[in-house]
Amino acid sequence: MDNHMLLELKDLEVVYQTDFENVYALNKVTLSLNAGETLGLVGETGAGKTTTALSILKLLPKNIGKITGGSIMFDGVDIVKATEGEMRKIRGNKISMIFQDPMTSLNPVIPVGEQIAESLELHNTQGRTAAEIEQRVDQMLELVGISPNRKTDFPHQFSGGMKQRVVIAIALACDPALLIADEPTTALDVTIQAQVLAMMGELKEKLNTSLILITHDLGIVAQICDKVAVMYAGEIIESGTMEDVFSRIENHPYTVGLFGSIPNLEVSTLRLAPINGLMPDPTDLPKGCKFHPRCPKCMDICKTESPRVYETGTHQIMCHLFTQEGNVIQ
Amino acid sequence: MVIFILLVIIALISPMIYDYNTDIVTQNLRNRLQPPTSEHPLGTDAFGRDVFARIAYGARVSLLIGFIVVGASLVIGGFIGAIAGYFGGILDNVLMRIMDVFLAIPQILLAIAVVAALGPGITNLIIALTISMIPAYARLLRSLILPLKDAEYVEAAKASGTNTWKIIFGHLLPNAMGPLIVNSTLAVGKTIVSAAGMSFLGLGISPPNPEWGAMLSEGKEYIRYAPNLVLYPGMAIMLAVLSLNLLGDGLNDALDPRLKQ
């Protein structure tokens, strides 16, 4: 397997500017992903997961969302500096995205086959004929487990899970190098969730696509991811391989809290331990560590100084708990 | 909003400035078709009457018709819609099919037909416009009541033995108030235009009474010599409707909880 670096985000900063306030959505986000790898991007609603994804495609809301610093290198191209024309050649072709809600992400007035064919038509670098495109559409539908003779049907004639399969077919039609899936199963029933996830994992292996899986569900991450990055208030506060994070030897207190929020079958507990408090207001972030108001292990230094990154091998944690004991980098 | 208040003020104070008999309806043929002067700010009409005074008086007529018609259709149409929506079933079906028939005739045409049968005049005009507006309100109220009637506070009221009418008027209507107010504001504007249209056709208020549409109808005869006779009354209608539309839009934004932060 070709293991070169496919995507690298460095110190990415994104601000949403409205008439009234500036929302600091991403603060120095650094991430990397090799070809064929799966990265789980975990965090609460509002942590900046979707913003990260939209930045990679440069589809931040027009006139409001702005990349104010950092770089996004994809396959040797700096996306931050790329023109709209260059981006259009990348979108849907080399990078595809699956959005959260399959109910609304398909156009209700266009047959699903046509919607799959559209990305093929837009990125027809191989010079496919109309018949070949049709063939490819059939092939994609079969791949996601939908009978090709349903391609003239409209989205409303499909169930939620089936719609998400169509969305996946659209995303994979052009054999993208990177697939970004933004909570692809949140809107689906639990049984359908498992099916869709299993299918995505399978297809990813088959097509050797890299995958960024955005979720707030650590269970899903454990199922199919190679790497994990935990986001909080626009920062990556912990990242590493699956083993690094899930072995639970050393974790950011927030990650510990996330683990505490899921039921464990092996240990009997009376009740789940939720993380107290709410995400900070992104227009007015707290000084020091952004997690300190909610942190059960908060120290004095956390309230004044931003923590640095503590690194052991592939595992990175941004917390004063670890950096104080030495092993400091940067 | 400002224009509307101004209009209401003009309508209210006009009788204090101008005497109905001498200024508004009495003809003064020596003064006919005068251009605007300080004495007659908008000139005089073909019978030597002050145009501004007549427009000011016309505001009373138009606003009065607007409010009476909307009020009456709101009460009658609203009642039909509310009981149809609340009770559902056959009653709903029958009432709504009847309303569909009314709605299948363009509103102004229905009003024309009623006036054709009853004869012109302000009372008949109001009846005609009210009849033509009832079905719209019946539909509106029904659509507002339907999603509310299964709400939990209604179930709670039913469970505690509250009288049906009290549920409809005490619990459901207040919750439908927002859209109703917005809609009524816009409806007053529509009614003013319809009333003017009817009078213009000679089916509403007839000269020499000062009504904007009737003034336009009269002015049309002199359009070649005194275009201001059709300019100003129309402008009055437009400003009245415009102010009501803006007021409606403003209320809509103010009452829409989605826009409230």
Partner: protein, 306 residues
């Protein structure tokens, strides 16, 4: 689709019956009687009574109504009390003018307002958006007949480039068409703008952008059709207002259409002619609604496959 059309056609029958019953009821409230009108003021009461008897005027309400419906189905809307002509023929003589006026106005509305609303939505808060929406706000508040009068003053009296009245050639139709379409254009442009802005925020538009589609393609292929769904509904409602507006516009521009026919009939208390005209225009409105529903079926696949 065909099933849907047939269903809609069948649904029209009870509505038309209801309309005739409604119009018939309203008209029976009228104090006029044919005998007085036909025989004139010189006739004696006996002569009038005899004439009314002969015409079936004293028959019970429902007998008269059923006669009317049975004849109407066969295309006979009765006989004018005023000039003894068949109502159907009178209406058919006037129909082309009203028909042309309505069709031209509908076309003008669609051609102007949908592109205008789209452009305004795409260039939100630009000069073209602000100016056209301000204009639309004023236009929507103008009574059609006053807009007509203003157009006459400007283009016929001051500039003298277009005729003020009549319906002889195409030039006669320019001003009435603009006047009739004016307020509907305003309403539909605003509606198109608002809907288009809403649609452009939908998830499937983001999906299209994520596929690498250009903005032009996003609008043409993905947004327009979805925008049209609610716009067509509002257009349908406004076509009724437009049809009613023809009555006023015909008066303003002195055109010999059904509206003028009806107003004259009201003045002469010619009840069969009034009733025929109202029924006929209501039928036209029902047909327009049917066409709107059918076009709706083409735009929205959710209806087609129902």
């Amino acid at each position: 689709m065909i099933k849907y059309i047939i269903k809609r056609l069948i649904m029209m029958i009870p509505v038309m019956l209801g309309i005739t019953l409604l119009v018939f009821t309203i008209m029976s409230l009228s104090p006029g009687d044919p005998g007085t009108l036909i025989l004139g003021p010189m006739a004696t009461q006996e002569e009038i009574d005899a004439k009314n008897q002969e015409l079936g005027f004293y028959d019970p309400f429902f007998v008269k109504y059923f006669d009317f419906v049975i004849n109407a189905v066969q295309g006979d809307l009765g006989t004018s009390w005023y000039n003894n002509q068949p109502v159907t023929r009178e209406i058919m003589n006037r129909f082309p003018v009203t028909f042309k006026l309505t069709i031209y106005s509908i076309l003008l509305t669609v051609i102007v307002s949908i592109p205008l609303g789209t452009i305004a939505a795409l260039k939100q808060y630009s000069i073209i958006d602000n100016v056209s929406m301000l204009l639309a706000l004023f236009l929507a508040s103008m009574p059609v007949f006053w807009l007509g009068l203003m157009l006459i003053i400007i283009f016929a009296l001051n500039l003298d480039i277009l005729p003020a009245t009549g319906n002889e050639n195409w030039k006669n139709f320019i001003l009435p068409t603009i006047a009739l379409a004016g307020s509907v254009i305003a309403v539909i442009s605003r509606m198109t703008r608002v809907t288009m802005i809403e649609v452009l925020h939908m998830d499937y538009i983001r999906t299209a952008r994520a596929k690498g589609a250009t903005e032009g393609r996003v609008v043409r292929k993905h947004a327009i059709q979805n925008t049209l769904i609610p716009v067509v509904t509002v257009l349908g409602v406004n076509l009724g207002i437009m049809l009613g507006g023809t009555v006023l516009i015909e008066q303003v521009f002195g055109m010999a259409g059904i509206g003028t026919l009806m107003i004259n009939a009201i003045r002469t208390k010619d009840i069969p002619l009034v009733m025929g005209s109202v029924t006929f225009l209501a039928l036209c409105f029902s047909i327009i609604n049917l066409l709107v529903d059918i076009s709706y079926g083409f735009i929205d696949p959710r209806i087609k496959t129902e």
